[in-house]
């Protein structure tokens, strides 16, 4: 186990190099000179273009720029945006917010999704089962931005239950609505997985035995059925946590969440290479760790899986 973790952590190094290189080349491939954008509709003189390109190393060949960036990173400096802000600071500012949002979304999935899945599983074929299937499937068949707008309009403005956008400091209460929207996207999976798992577990001998011993449903369901059904659900939620950190761009934009996705989108529009590469690389690293956690979770939750090597 220990060596397995060490090995996976060491794999992080080539992943880091590979992803920075890949992302760097991707940003490099986007046509368009970021310098020209800085002047709006005015066209700068060739001298100004040249001077600014030199300032941001845009005149250097691709590999040189890449190594300049890497050199900075190894000194703990993730680069500076064209606006002169430190990327470290931007990440320190935005990352906690995104993390909180993702956490909240996962929590909502855990509570609502698992509960709905449990009821569906226990009353298989009942009205609730069918209703849950249709509602959750409808939720994934709607594009995220439509869902976000409708939620913002209905709950934020018509009903006034939430602030339509996230206020300064991003308090937890403001994050609930965007978290619900994010949670809705994965809800179908959580409900289906829980349901299937509950059905399977319920048929096990130890459950029948528990009932046979005369234990009440109140005790059997949470202790025997639910606990043993959580393996696939937990791993799915862990994976989703990773995805949420990476992919909340649209939702963050609509609800004005000052998070990583929002910042990344602006950086892409600015062609801000150091910022894009740093943000995405951090996301890759986070994702790699989440995946490691998932794999370890498998081992912890299911004793049949062991990591020997």
């Amino acid at each position: 186990m220990f060596w397995y973790i060490i090995r996976r952590l060491l794999q992080g190094i080539p992943v880091f190099l590979g992803s920075t290189f890949l992302i760097f080349s991707m940003v490099f491939l986007v046509p368009g000179n970021p310098v020209l954008r800085m002047f709006g509709d005015r066209t700068p003189s060739p001298e100004q273009i040249a001077a600014l390109e030199a300032k941001f190393h845009l005149d250097q060949p691709f590999l040189v720029r890449y190594f300049i960036y890497l050199g900075d990173v190894f000194q703990g400096n993730l680069g500076t945006t064209y606006a002169g802000q430190s990327v470290n600071e931007i990440l320190a500012r935005t990352f906690p917010t995104t993390l909180r949002l993702a956490l909240l979304a996962v929590l909502i999935q855990l509570i609502v999704g698992v509960l709905a899945g449990l009821i569906s599983g226990l009353r298989k074929g009942g009205i609730f089962d069918h209703a849950a299937l249709i509602v959750t499937l409808l939720l994934i068949s709607i594009p995220v931005f439509v869902l976000a707008f409708v939620a913002q309009w209905f709950f934020g403005i018509q009903l006034g239950w939430f602030r339509p956008t996230v206020g300064s400091g991003a308090p937890w209460s403001d994050l609930i609505l965007p978290a619900i929207v994010l949670a809705a996207l994965n809800m179908a999976y959580v409900v289906r997985l829980t349901r299937a798992s509950v059905i399977e577990t319920s048929q096990n001998d130890f459950v029948r035995m528990a009932y046979g011993k005369g234990l009440s449903r109140r005790r059997v369901i949470p202790v025997h059925i639910l606990r043993n059904s959580m393996i696939p659900v937990t791993t799915n939620l862990a994976a989703d946590f990773g995805i949420l950190i990476v992919g909340a761009t649209v939702t963050e934009g609509i609800f004005n969440v000052p998070g990583v996705g929002n910042e990344l989108f602006k950086a892409i529009n600015r062609h801000d290479t150091p910022e894009i590469v740093s943000i995405v690389t951090i996301l890759v690293i986070v994702y790699v760790f989440v995946n490691l956690l998932i794999d370890l979770l498998y081992g912890v939750l299911d004793p049949r899986i062991r990591y020997v090597k």
Binding site: M26, V27, I142, V146, Q203, V246, L264, V284, Y287, N291
Partner: protein, 336 residues
């Protein structure tokens, strides 16, 4: 487990099973794994109404995509007007000259009303079917091919190949598809088309398929018949293609239908972000939904209709996937 055990009639090549009362002899209890998965699944599917509803709906959608002009004669992109300008148009639409057509409700010949640009909503939905469906299918193929190939190699060969491919998968998966889309759509600016946008969506979506196939391969390769195959000297590669892969594919087929749904909504999201297909060259539901955001408050019908088309199509594919999943999963079948 329910009271009935899974009992299945084995194929009998000597005589008809019913002949001579041998049926009872042939009826052996078999383990779920060794039965013919596909045939059983089909038998099971035939009896499910959800399968038929979704399949018929999908066939209908495909028909609309192939022959849009059967359903509407109104061009989706030409003759879009913001206001009624002259008597000819006024007579055609049955409203006075000067009426604002942009975001207008239904008029004779235009059952679902007009978009912000004054184009016919119904016609745009019908003509957009092909684009949305093609994007969904092409993405699914790209994801399935890449995911299967890389997942199978990783799972079967294990070791450093496994680690290498899976870490590549981590990288690709963590790259936000908005970044990928901006890069790819910018590079192919002049000839943005369905294939390009499908590539932008699909090229970075394969890792989850690969992960699933890999874990399935890991399970299958422990099974006796794979060991047997290797034991009798069949090459590793050959074993993989003829024994491991076919038996690992079921879950991929299932998640592909969900992925197809995801691709159709992803196309919508890319349009919303401004890196989708150009709206007045390609009709697509995603494009129309993205544009309809502008007038959501004043003309909700412009948003609602393409959303309904998209949701129903996506729902049909997901339901199909659900039923196929149930049919392929012997446990679920047994307990039904």
């Amino acid at each position: 487990m329910s009271s009935k055990n899974p009992v299945r009639t084995a194929p009998h090549f000597v005589a008809e099973v019913d002949e001579g009362g041998l049926g009872a002899v042939d009826a052996v209890r078999v383990s779920d794994r060794k039965s013919n998965l596909w045939l059983d699944a089909w038998r099971d599917l035939r009896g499910r109404w959800m399968f038929w509803v979704s399949a018929v709906f999908i066939l209908f959608i495909v028909f609309v995509a192939l022959f849009p002009t059967v359903f509407t004669q109104v061009p989706p992109n030409d003759g879009c007007i913001l206001t009624v300008q002259n008597e000819t148009q006024a007579a055609e639409l049955g409203v006075p000259v000067g009426t604002v057509i942009s975001d207008h409700g239904p008029l004779p010949g235009h059952p679902l009303g007009f978009t912000r640009q004054g184009c016919d909503v119904f016609s745009r939905i019908v003509h957009g079917t092909g684009t949305s469906l093609s994007v969904g299918l092409i993405v699914t193929v790209i994801v399935a091919v890449m995911g299967i190939a890389l997942g199978a190699f990783a799972g079967y060969f294990g070791g450093w190949i496994d680690s290498f491919l899976m870490r590549i998968g981590d990288i690709f998966f963590a790259i936000p598809y908005i970044l990928a889309a901006v890069v790819i759509m910018s590079m192919f600016l002049a000839d943005r088309n369905i294939l390009i946008i499908s590539l932008a969506i699909g090229f970075f979506a394969w890792p989850s398929t690969a992960r699933i196939l890999r874990s399935e391969v890991l399970r299958v390769k422990q099974l006796d018949y794979v060991m047997a195959s290797e034991a009798i000297g069949v090459s590793k590669l050959r074993t993989m293609f003829s024994h491991v892969m076919p038996n690992s594919l079921a879950p991929v087929i299932i998640i592909s239908t969900v992925g197809l749904a995801g691709a159709i909504t992803a196309e919508a999201t890319l349009s919303f972000l401004g890196v989708g297909l150009p709206a007045n060259i390609f009709m697509s539901w995603g494009n129309d939904i993205a544009q309809a955001q502008q007038s959501l408050r004043t003309a909700p019908q412009v948003l609602i209709y393409p959303s309904i088309a998209l949701s129903f199509t996506v729902l049909a594919f997901i339901l199909l996937g659900e039923t196929v999943r149930d049919a392929l999963d012997p446990k679920a079948r047994a307990t039904r």
